[in-house]
Amino acid sequence: MDENELRTVVIATLKTIAPEVEEGDLRADRPLRNQVDLDSMDWLNILIGLHQKLQVDIPEADYARLVTLGDVLDYLRKKLK
C-alpha cells in the first residue's frame, strides 16, 4: 500500500465517524482532535476501523503517539512494513 492509498484509507475511516470532515481542511501537523470534534468513543471507533481495514494491532499504550494525522500515517506505515 503506497502513501496515497494509506492516506485515503485513514481519511475514509475518519469520515465514517466524522462525516463533516473536509480533507483539504485537515493539517497533517496539528493535533487531529483539535481539528475534528472527536470524543474517546469516536477515537476508539476510528482505531477499530483502521485495525479492521489494515489488519494492524494498535495497543492502547501507543495511543499517546497518535496525535496528528501525520503521526497516524507514520505509525501505520511502520506497522504495515
Binding site: 470524543d39 476508539l44 492502547e60 499504550a61
Partner: protein, 398 residues
C-alpha cells in the same frame, strides 16, 4: 380492548410524527416489541409496546403528527375477539398495561433487535446529504452492510435524478427547520427545569490514578474491539454510589418524589449535526464493565444514526454527562425533568496533589452533582459525591 397511546419520549416532547407502523392488524405483539417508528424533534424512535395482544385497528396514518397520549391503535387482549371488542365502548379507560412510558414492567433487553432488523439502515451522513441534495432517502437503494444506505448511494441517486436547485434550497430550509425544532425542544425542557427545579451544585476533585492504571492494565491484554473506556467505569461508579443515595435516582412527579428501583442512566450524547440526546443504559448497577461498554458503544452508534428505542428515551432515572471529553475542567448540569439529579465529569488532568504529607502529581477529574432541593439537601449530595469518589478508588470492584 387495549388502547396503544403515543408515549412521551422525554420532557421535551409533546407531539410526534408517525413515520411507519411495524405491525399490521391481526399481528400478535409481545411486551417490548417495536410497533411503530415515531419522529420526535430529536430522533426517529422505535416505539415499544408494553402489553401483549393482537393488533385490531391502526388509527394513526403514517406522516400524521399527533399529540402525546393520542390513541394510535387498538389491540385485542387474549381471549377477546373482534366481535366482543366492537361491542366494548371505545372510550373505556386504557388498562394500566398500555404503553405508558412510566410503566415499571420488565425493561427490554436487546432481544428486541430482531424486530427492528427489517428497518432500513441509513448512515447519518447519508441522511443529511440526501436532505441537502433533495433526494428522498426512502427511494435510495442501499449497497452497504445489511442493505445500509451509504453516502455513495445517495450521490448516485442524486446524479441519476438531476435534482433541481430550487428543490435543493427548499430542502436546506428543512434541515435548518429540524435544527431549530430540536433547539426549541431543548429550550423547553431546560427552561422548565430551571423554572421548576431548585438546583443545588456541588463538585469534588476525584483522584483518578488507580482507575487510569487499572484501565490501562485491563486494556493491555484485550483486542482493540474489546477495550474499555473510562466512561464505563464512571457510569458503573455512579450506579453503585446511587444504591446508598436513592434520593438522587428517580422522578419528581405530581408534587412528590418517586425513587427508582434500578439505575437507568441517561448518557448525554452530542449529535454531530448539533444538539444532544440523553438516552438510557438500563440497570447499570447490575451489568459488568464489558457489558456496559457494549451497551454504550451501541447506544452512541444508534443515537447518532437516529435509531433509539422508546424505553431508552423515556425512562432514564438520572443523567451523566462527560463534557471533560471536550476538555472542560468541570460541568454543572441542568437536570432533565422529571429526573432529580445530574452527574458531570470533567477532563482527567494532572494536578499537584498532596498525599501522605507529600506533594506529588495526580491525574484528577472533577465530579459534579446538580441535584433537586425538593428531594435532597447539599449534605446528602456531598456524601453521594464522596461515595462516588470512593467507588473510583477501587476500580477492581466496579
Amino acid at each position: 380492548m387495549i388502547e396503544f397511546k403515543l408515549p412521551s419520549l422525554g420532557a421535551d416532547m409533546d407531539e410526534g410524527k408517525l413515520l411507519e407502523w411495524k405491525v399490521r392488524p391481526g399481528d400478535t405483539v409481545k411486551k417490548g416489541q417495536v410497533v411503530a417508528i415515531v419522529d420526535t424533534s430529536k430522533a426517529a424512535v422505535d416505539v415499544e409496546i408494553w402489553c401483549e395482544g393482537t393488533v385490531f385497528e391502526l388509527l394513526t396514518e403514517p406522516d400524521e403528527t399527533i399529540p402525546v397520549g393520542t390513541v394510535m391503535a387498538t389491540l385485542l387482549e387474549a381471549g377477546e375477539s373482534a366481535e366482543t371488542a366492537k361491542r366494548a365502548p371505545r372510550a373505556a379507560p386504557a388498562p394500566k398495561a398500555a404503553a405508558t412510558p412510566s410503566h415499571p414492567g420488565p425493561l427490554p433487553r436487546h432481544g428486541g433487535e430482531g424486530i427492528v432488523s427489517g428497518r432500513r439502515r441509513v448512515s447519518p451522513a447519508a441522511r443529511k446529504h440526501a436532505e441537502e441534495l433533495g433526494v428522498d432517502i426512502e427511494t435510495v437503494a442501499g449497497s452497504g452492510p445489511e442493505g445500509a444506505v451509504t453516502l455513495a448511494d445517495v450521490e448516485q441517486a442524486a446524479a441519476a435524478a438531476k435534482v433541481s436547485p430550487t428543490r435543493t434550497a427548499a430542502v436546506t430550509d428543512k434541515v435548518a427547520d429540524k435544527a431549530a425544532e430540536m433547539r426549541r425542544a431543548i429550550a423547553a425542557a431546560m427552561g422548565r427545569s430551571k423554572r421548576e427545579i431548585p438546583h443545588y451544585y456541588l463538585s469534588e476533585p476525584v483522584p483518578m490514578r488507580r482507575a487510569t492504571e487499572w484501565l490501562a492494565q485491563a486494556n493491555e491484554g484485550r483486542p482493540i474491539t474489546a477495550r474499555l473506556l473510562m466512561a464505563v467505569l464512571q457510569l458503573k461508579a455512579v450506579a453503585l454510589a446511587l444504591r446508598k443515595f436513592p434520593e438522587m435516582n428517580g422522578y419528581f412527579r405530581d408534587g412528590a418524589f418517586q425513587p427508582a428501583t434500578a439505575a437507568h442512566i441517561g448518557v448525554a450524547i452530542s449529535l454531530r449535526q448539533g444538539g444532544l440526546i440523553a438516552p438510557a443504559i438500563h440497570d447499570v448497577g447490575e451489568k459488568s464493565l464489558e457489558q456496559l461498554m457494549l451497551d454504550l458503544a451501541d447506544l452512541v452508534k444508534r443515537a447518532r444514526a437516529g435509531s433509539l428505542r422508546s424505553s431508552e428515551m423515556s425512562d432514564p432515572t438520572i443523567t451523566v454527562t462527560n463534557l471533560g471529553e471536550q476538555g472542560v475542567a468541570a460541568v454543572y448540569g441542568v437536570i432533565y425533568p422529571p429526573q432529580v439529579a445530574l452527574v458531570g465529569f470533567g477532563r482527567i488532568g494532572e494536578q499537584p496533589w498532596v498525599e501522605n504529607n507529600a506533594l506529588g502529581v495526580m491525574p484528577v477529574a472533577t465530579a459534579s452533582l446538580a441535584a433537586d432541593h425538593r428531594v435532597s439537601d447539599g449534605h446528602r449530595g456531598a456524601l453521594f459525591l464522596a461515595a462516588l469518589r470512593d467507588q473510583l478508588q477501587e476500580p477492581e470492584k466496579l
